[in-house]
Amino acid sequence: MQNKTVQLGDLEIEVGNTNTVRLVFRGKSNHREPDAVLRPLFHEVIKKASTTGTGVELHFEKLEFFNSSTITSVIHFIKELRSRHIATQVTYDATHKWQKVFFDALGMLQKADGFLQITPVTS
């Protein structure tokens, strides 16, 4: 999987490969069917992490907005990572109330096995 930047309308996802697969979300996600466009990328990430045994970092700090359809796609992705026991680190900007409310709620996906960690950062 190469380092690259994926542009989906107003949403930009920077994909990086070092010790982990790192996705940095920027901008706004307003797509009507985000799953159709995000799924191939997410599938690629899962395949890479599974075959190499690396973890995944998901950075949402720079995300300005996502619609509820995108929320569904992100949840499916995180659930899939968890079910495959891929260590996943999610970070968000706790100074944005909307991010805090959403990622607090997403904490329900965390389990004692520690494969999913959701961490607030402050800008």
Binding site: E64, F65, N67, S68, I78, K97, W98, V101
Partner: protein
């Protein structure tokens, strides 16, 4: 009082346009970025629902209304409604879950369903609005139009 009222074409990009416009208006009126972002989110979610579920077989557009009075904000969309679509009944079901439990529980329950069931999609927008903003969300049908309204109190932090 600050108001905005227009009829928007049911094109997907218009939901994002309304989000941007509403955020800019609220930012100009109250000077709070968080309040503006939240108002934009509501405008976007309600507009997306109108575009997705409205009956556009006869053309037309959806009515969009924003009213800001003091610290209270109202966003309402009204779209043509086909009674055979069942969309009003689905809406009522969602609003009942918010009312019967709490907005937070309804939202968390839906997130869980989305996470647990493969292929489970949607029906998050209204719960999200009710939960994130403690908004009162209502829906009614009148003159073949389905209206959905969100009203909430702005939580303005002057230090932001």
């Amino acid at each position: 009082m600050t108001t905005l009222a227009l009829v928007a074409r049911p094109e997907w990009a218009n939901a994002a346009s309304l989000r941007t416009a509403v955020a800019a208006i609220v930012k100009a009126a109250v000077g709070d970025v968080e309040a503006a972002t939240n108002a934009g989110m509501v405008a976007c979610e309600l507009s997306e629902n109108a575009i997705k579920y409205g009956d556009w077989s006869h053309g037309g557009g959806f009515a969009f209304r924003l009213v800001l009075e003091g610290r209270e904000l109202l966003v309402e969309v009204a779209s043509p409604y086909d009674p055979s679509s069942g969309s009003f009944e689905r809406l009522q079901c969602i609003l009942r879950t918010i009312h019967d439990r709490s907005a937070q529980q309804a939202y968390l329950q839906r997130l869980t369903e989305v996470a647990e069931k493969t292929g489970e999609i949607g029906q998050l927008g209204l719960r999200r609005i009710a939960h994130e903003l403690s908004a009162r969300v209502t829906a009614y049908v009148e003159n073949d139009l389905l209206s959905v309204r969100a009203i909430w109190h702005l939580d303005i932090d002057r230090s932001r």
